[in-house]
């Protein structure tokens, strides 16, 4: 997957776990927490959905990388590079 495709995938996951959030205006280099009402349960869900959908494993000590869209895509890029978008 390309970084743009990974971004789309994250948007899709966010749409699933937080359907009442408006994701159109999301600023990629600003923290999710400052823009969306996400709590630790929601962050866990991003991790779990990635594991469920793409078998991507994210160890607990790396959860901090999921702070913003930008940092999430950067972190996932090497892990998801070889995944072919369905």
């Amino acid at each position: 997957m390309s970084p743009a495709e990974i971004r789309d995938e994250i948007i899709d996951i966010l749409g699933d776990i937080a359907p009442d959030e408006n994701l159109d205006d999301l600023v990629d280099d600003k923290n999710f927490r400052d823009q969306l009402e996400l709590d630790s349960m929601d962050f866990l869900d991003i991790v779990m959905e990635l594991r469920k959908r793409h078998r991507v494993q994210i160890p607990e000590e790396d959860y901090g990388h999921l702070a913003s869209m930008q940092s999430t895509v950067n972190y996932l890029e090497p892990k998801m590079r070889d995944i072919v978008k369905a």
Partner: protein, 466 residues
């Protein structure tokens, strides 16, 4: 071999099951009763639908709200707001001799009521609202969690009567401890009842349970009814599976139990004696009256009335006799703002909950038990009509259930409704793969139990499970 075996198909077990099944675990819920729901099930009798427990769903929030427990559980379980179809309460009251305070789903009403009746407590009440612990502190590690709620209130609210009045609904809707309340639990219930308020689906608890079970099964989860767990099989400090009442053995990598702390430990092979003194003591009788009119037509428009017949609120197991009717909760499921499309409920219903003693109820021989059900129903109603219009000549049908009934269908020690006073907020036990959820883990009520199931599944069965 299951990834997770869940004991109990109540609110917490079903919610945990949905989380685990959603993330592709092989999960099985084992329930001893022939139906789901546990402390908040439903039944049919004389051609009418009854709920066991649902007076009100606490933590009301309007569609699209992004914060708070209801929004959280809808997100976590991937429900839509419409699934619960919650109608808002019309309004509730706290009634003590000579004083009545109304409250609704907006704290301003209660504030203005306090300003009218207790003008010197307005500032203290505002401070109290500010000092509530935030939901994020409620993982139980906040050092203030176990403080005495009464002690905190004494600092802020100068009028003892107002302190008692504020505590009454909160203890009734979620306090397992006699006399006092943990400040953390007080904060949870304060938000749940006064800041967020009450709602109810038109069809009652069925709507909630049917959604939970449909979702669980749709995700491939297995639910086995009439499948009581009689033993948890332990090898070398590790649970390896369960044995059912009929002898069937089922293996699992981990077990999540909503049966209660003492009740779960008792199942474990490696434990010979449990400390029963730690089990909860507070149980109720519920006296249900079916009326030939809508309660509104006889001048009763309250959703819930919490009453107490003296200036001191007694929250303990009855010291003598089967019941203590000095305090109680009156609920009319008719008094919600249902959608016009739903219309009104077919019957007028008044439900009254009063404190009851489990052991004395269970010691009664069968004929006396039946007679006492009638007598105690009458005394509950007689006590309640001091605080509401007398509805007795409109009664066309009744049902009563007691601590014995609660115990018989949920297997909780003492028929305790809110479980043990000491909660296991981290959900752990002496075994590294046996965890607790539901009432005895920490959160009570429908919303509380669902959140408990979710958070224990997340913490013990998803994060660390590979």
């Amino acid at each position: 071999m299951y990834d997770t075996i869940i004991i109990g198909a109540g609110m917490s077990g079903l919610a945990a099951g949905i989380r685990l099944a959603h993330f592709d675990q092989r999960v099985c819920i084992l329930e001893r009763h022939y139906t789901i729901g546990g402390l908040n099930s439903f039944y049919r009798m004389g051609g009418r639908d009854f709920d066991v427990g649902l007076h009100a769903m606490t933590n009301f929030a309007r569609k699209g709200t992004r914060r708070g427990p209801l929004a959280k559980l809808i997100r976590q379980l991937r429900f839509n707001w419409e699934d619960f179809a919650l109608a808002e309460q019309i309004g509730s009251s706290i009634r003590f001799p000579g004083v009545s305070l109304d409250f609704g789903n907006d704290i301003e009403l209660l504030q203005s009521e306090i300003a009218r009746e207790f003008p010197d407590c307005v500032d203290g009440f505002a401070k109290l609202c500010e000092s509530l612990l935030d939901y994020d502190d409620l993982a139980g590690d906040d050092p203030n969690f176990n403080q005495s709620a009464r002690a905190v209130l004494e600092q802020l609210i100068p009028q003892p009567l107002l302190r008692e009045m504020l505590l009454c609904p909160l203890m009734w809707y979620g306090n397992a401890r006699e006399d006092d309340m943990d400040f953390g639990q007080f904060c949870i219930m304060f938000r749940a009842c006064y800041l967020e308020g009450f709602g109810r689906p038109f069809k009652g608890v069925r709507t909630i349970l049917k959604n939970l079970v449909r979702k669980f099964r749709g995700l491939g989860g297995e639910l086995k009814l009439r499948s009581g767990v009689s033993r948890i099989h332990v090898e070398n400090g590790h649970a390896v599976g369960v044995v059912l009442d009929d002898g069937t053995e089922i293996a699992g990598r981990r077990i999540l139990s909503s049966a209660g702390t003492v009740e779960t430990l008792r199942l474990c092979d490696d434990i010979t004696e449990v400390d029963v003194a730690k089990a909860g003591q507070l149980s109720f009788i519920e006296s249900i009256s079916i009326l030939d009119v809508q309660p509104r037509d006889i001048g009763f428009d309250r959703t819930i009335v919490f009453y107490n017949d003296s200036e001191t609120f007694h929250w303990r197991r009855p010291e003598q006799g089967l019941c203590d009717v000095r305090t109680g909760v009156v609920c009319s499921p008719n008094n919600y703002r249902y959608d016009a499309a739903d219309g009104t409920l077919p019957d007028g219903v008044i439900r009254i909950t009063t404190l009851a003693d489990h052991d004395r109820w269970c010691a009664l021989p069968e004929p006396a038990y039946r007679a006492e059900k009638v007598a105690q129903y009458e005394s509950a109603v007689q006590s309640a009509v001091r605080f509401m219009p007398d509805f007795r000549r409109h009664i066309i049908d009744t049902d009563v259930f007691t601590p014995k009934t609660i115990r018989r269908f949920t297997w909780h020690d003492n028929g305790a409704v809110y479980g043990a006073p000491e909660k296991r907020l981290d959900g752990t036990t002496h075994l590294d793969n046996l965890f607790l959820c539901g009432t005895d883990q920490g959160f009570v009520g429908i919303v509380g139990a669902i959140l408990s199931g979710i958070s224990m599944a997340n913490r013990h069965c998803l994060v660390s499970a590979d």
